[in-house]
Symmetry: C2
């Protein structure tokens, strides 16, 4: 047993920090949360954090990536269904994480290093899921071989980020409209 | 003549403030520019500013709206050409104003009142131009009557904002790809 002064055991420190990051960044926005705030909230020492993450940015991105990872990426069925189902889950998720993600995107505009991490660790892995759905549909000839997967991905991610940044709702109805508009591209 | 202590004549104060706002916000980002900075840069008194604009936000939005207004909204020709031409001009414009606009979008995430002004005075008027192109094309039956103009507009604006916020390039090639992908929706 390595309990220290009421701190969570070391193997609980990672989850405690991830959950502190989710909570505080959702409440205050990325820029208003310091490393010290995270340590206090998680009841964890500085060394414990830095053994796991090189910086606040990496910890926070992992905290929200983890949440996004819970979206079931079920690939069975026609691409229209696959994509609508995925976006419907994603949008439900974004309604919860939206304020935090908006603050991450805002912070990334004034911090090139954070933007790079945000792109690489958060946005690109999500874009890859959508692209892989589309590429599989092209492979099984459900979508035309000239289907522009990259632009479609930009339109999908762009459309929901734009709506989210403007404070407009993301719901199942928009998931259906967006999927329909993007996939008709191939008819 | 109403020259006062080397200040520009009053009828030059508006343009001087607009140009100061463009310059300073482009250099420093919206949040790092104060009203006092704008007055100093334009060589204009506080009252002169407030006779024209109720706040920094309104002045800055006008400064960049003015620039966007210079894009020729030529409506002759097939919708594919009209939209490609418009987006090509817009993207060239965004390559110059991009850093400032990214800072406006970032600031809007932490300031609900500014977000409302940014939507109403800046984003919606631009969206209207694109929507009117599409609506006209639907009217003259160049686009199917079921064409989803609102979602198409979200995809267009979303895609280029998303690319811009991620620091990715906007060029004529992307204008063509985006227009092609959005308009194929109707075939």
């Amino acid at each position: 047993m390595d309990k220290v002064l009421g701190r969570p055991r070391d193997d609980a420190a990672g989850p405690a920090l991830l959950s502190a990051a989710r909570r505080l960044v959702s409440e205050r926005g990325y820029q208003r949360v310091s490393i010290q705030n995270l340590l206090d909230e998680a009841g964890v020492g500085r060394q414990t954090l830095y053994r796991r993450w090189p910086s606040k940015a990496e910890l926070v991105l992992d905290a929200f990536l983890d949440s996004a990872g819970r979206i079931p990426a079920v690939t069975e069925g026609p691409i229209l269904e696959v994509l609508t189902r995925f976006l419907t889950h994603l949008f439900a998720n974004l309604n919860e994480d939206g304020p935090a993600l908006r603050s991450l995107m805002a912070s990334a505009q004034e911090d090139a290093k954070f933007l790079a991490s945000f792109r690489e660790r958060f946005l690109q892995p999500r874009a890859k899921i959508v692209k892989s759905f589309l590429e599989q549909a092209v492979k099984r000839r459900e979508l035309n071989e000239n289907f522009d997967v990259d632009t479609a991905s930009d339109m999908i991610h762009g459309a929901f980020w734009y709506r989210m940044l403007l404070g407009r709702p993301l719901d199942a109805a928009f998931a259906t409209k967006l999927t329909t508009a993007v996939l008709k591209v191939t008819e």
